[in-house]
């Protein structure tokens, strides 16, 4: 019932200032108990959509965050940085080292949800079941190309998303970072240039640096994703781009989802330019709404799209598991995986396959998406309330991250240090690019339950920011 009224509020059917039906009216209209009606109203109030006026009833509130402006588009969607060796390593190493040594009590710097938001018990049972059914799971040599059952399950789920691959066309990996290492080495050499989004996941920038490759940052809209026109221009300008890496759904850190037409254009451009298109999918299952956003891979007709999936954020933060379909480079990626880390443990794969094959996985995803949405809304509210005037914020349609643009004179590196000193962890925008364009941005995680501590933490962050502006 809360959902019903929430949709009405969001759609504008119930407008700000409108009075909600009374408890008695709700009971009569929807044939529910007093307790259910009250709970609904309180739920919406806690979520910030209603405010209670004593002896008047519940009224629709203007959520504070609608007064917060979205993050700005980049100044020019065509201007391209000259490719250069990434040089990100120091920045990222420092950030990681500082975060690890400080161990902030309130750590909003990652992209992992709180453990209890995952299917703790079901996964545990699946793991125990795996060991009971195959007691020698731990003492048998690991199949080189991954556990067949796991590969079948992921191939079947991919089919539901319009991706036609067989279980044999799946390489099991240790997750996103390993996959990036493998696929980049499959398509390029040290010294080669790889086009990436701007800003982009710092793990990708760090991997590029480690492989001695050059990152060419392509202007990216915080609302529609990578600029296909800018990529086309870059391909023409720089004759030596060897691949492009894109996160089309719930981009990290921006949170945007590419419109369908842009995805079509991107896949077509890369096909025509014979430019390997590497798709990184770690969050798609966390997108809101009844329709899962489509993949670039589902548009692949000639094996030009390399599709990398990580299960770490959607299935289980304690599992180091992912998979790749390498398109034209599949065999090379298979051999690189073998030369990189040999085979993955079967135990993990069997457990994941068991859980993912049943209805429990989709049920878990639905629940997680809903919880994330609430937590995200509440955090956005608090940011709008506490952060300095001029702060901008994209509230993405799903996922775990919040990308916040602070007033331009602020340095997120300084905010990061000051916050760490007070036991709060955030990710400074500087690590998401080799340029200094995002010095005044920061990324925060909405995967934690919205508690009073979290609210106070956000208040403190706001205070830190305001203090730096005087």
């Amino acid at each position: 019932m809360a959902e019903h009224y929430l949709e009405a509020i969001q759609a504008g059917t119930l407008r700000t200032g409108d009075r909600m039906p009374s408890v008695r009216e709700l009971m009569r209209r929807h044939q529910v108990s007093l307790s259910t009606a009250l709970q609904t109203l309180r739920h919406l109030e806690e979520a910030g959509w209603l405010e209670a006026r004593p002896r008047s009833g519940y009224f629709v509130r203007q959520p504070r965050r609608s007064s917060i402006l979205p993050v700005q588009e980049p100044r020019s969607l065509l201007a391209i940085d000259p490719a250069h060796y990434v040089g990100i390593h120091e920045k990222v190493s420092n950030f990681i080292a500082r975060r690890q040594s400080s161990m902030p009590q309130l750590d909003l710097s990652g992209m992992t949800c709180a453990p209890e938001l995952y299917a703790v018990d079901a996964l545990k049972q699946a793991a125990i079941r795996a060991l009971r059914e195959r007691p020698d799971l731990l003492t048998s040599a690991m199949p080189h190309n991954g556990n067949m059952g796991f590969r079948q399950v992921v191939a079947r789920r991919a089919l539901n998303a319009g991706i036609r691959i067989s279980a044999d066309e799946v390489v099991v990996t240790h997750g996103c970072i390993e996959a990036l290492n493998l696929v980049l080495r499959a398509v390029a050499q040290p010294g080669d240039t790889i086009a990436v989004e701007s800003p982009t996941y710092f793990g990708l920038l760090q991997t590029l640096e480690n492989l001695g490759m050059r990152a060419l940052e392509i202007p990216t809209s915080p609302h529609t994703g990578i600029s296909v026109e800018a990529l086309e221009l870059a391909i023409q300008t720089y004759g030596n781009i060897k691949a492009v890496v894109v996160v089309p759904n719930l981009q990290n850190p921006l949170g945007c989802i590419m419109p369908e037409a842009h995805k079509d254009a991107l896949v077509k451009l890369c096909r025509q330019a014979r430019l390997p298109l590497i798709e990184d999918d770690a969050y798609t299952e966390l997108a809101d709404g009844s329709v899962t956003p489509s993949s670039l891979k589902s548009r692949d007709t000639d094996g030009n799209v390399i599709y990398c999936v990580s299960l770490n954020k959607v299935l289980a933060p304690g599992m180091r598991l992912g998979w790749v379909n390498g398109g034209r480079w599949h065999e090379r990626i298979k051999m690189l995986k073998f030369a990189h880390t040999r085979a993955n443990e079967e135990w993990t794969q069997v457990t994941a396959a068991d859980f993912m094959a049943g209805t429990g996985y989709d049920r878990h995803l639905r629940r997680l998406r809903e919880i994330l949405r609430e937590q995200r809304e509440q955090m956005a509210e608090s940011i709008a309330a506490y952060f300095p005037e001029g702060t901008r914020l994209n509230v993405p349609n799903g996922g775990v991250g919040l990308w916040v643009e602070l007033p331009g004179e602020l340095s997120s590196q300084q905010v990061f240090e000051a916050a760490l000193a007070e036991g709060i962890g955030i990710s400074p925008g500087a690590i998401f690019s080799n340029s200094d364009r995002y010095e005044h941005f920061l990324r925060m995680c909405c995967g934690h339950p919205f508690t009073r501590e979290l609210d106070q933490g956000l208040r403190q962050l706001g205070r830190i920011c305001k203090g730096m502006m005087e």
Copy 2:
């Protein structure tokens, strides 16, 4: 009791042709039951040390393999190959692909023991216990530097072997191949030269090729390991060697253990030449005898020795787990691990730590060593019986491998193909070097129970070899 008489036979106290004490004599001398006395005699007979002559008793046999000569020393322990890009990849890829697609029923090509030779039940129980004690093990973010309990356990065991490191000085890896990738990248760049043993583990050669590094193969004695004099000459001749990788105990594929004096000299040479010494330890715990062979790391005084351990062959083939102490390069290796695959799953580490901390692990190792010794002896016997005249064989003092030198005109690649066609897998010598010096060698695994099938398989292999000589 069988052990007692076996030592007597091996020491020569009981000579070939000597008559064993009768069953009654054994019962009286050793105060044992009829059944024990009979079992002892039968055990020694099955192992090939005794032969039963009807109505006469048991007599000491000449084990056939003592007539088989050991593998020859390399022609010159000083001659060094010029370093070159490895070019091994094709050979290894073909070998692996052929082996995987053929799936031989009798696969002697690996270095993994049969699953039941490991502590199947204890490991399973430890894994289940881990999940019950920490139900959120699968849904909690993985600690970046590895599980503390696991690191403490391995550090403590290392202390028993004279290696003084703390739990903080342990980087958890996904095993040998990942470790090699990380440590080579920590000390060298693409284009650099790395000194290696000759022959050496094909995984190392493949990794070098993948990293664009050059392998300089150093002459290695099948009995005493790498030639320290040859390495010294190489360091002087080639000014640009960036590191040396050595397997001092139960070298793969040779099976030899370096004498203590050679280990001293090697560590000293590398320290003086400021050449990073990378020690690869995957089999030390499988060495026979009451004293574990020492490590190079235990001689390290200035962090010049990088120590890599893999648990895959000694603890559990189903676990992708190892660790590294990086000496002077430890911090760099930590960051490379993070950039390579992020953190290992905690579940595996907690399980391993639980099992390795108790007495069960040492008990398992003792049992495994004993079983391997028996299986090794019996395989050696069969090889001596079935293979062509002129076949040479080292029977190592431990471990999983048997390195067999076929008569010089044979090609182990052809033997490999012919064997695969008959459902038998072996590892052709060619993949263990970039030279063609080992074309007529092959490596076989003694980790499988010695059954009639195995004996027949060896007989078939012998027939295949003999057939190629006509």
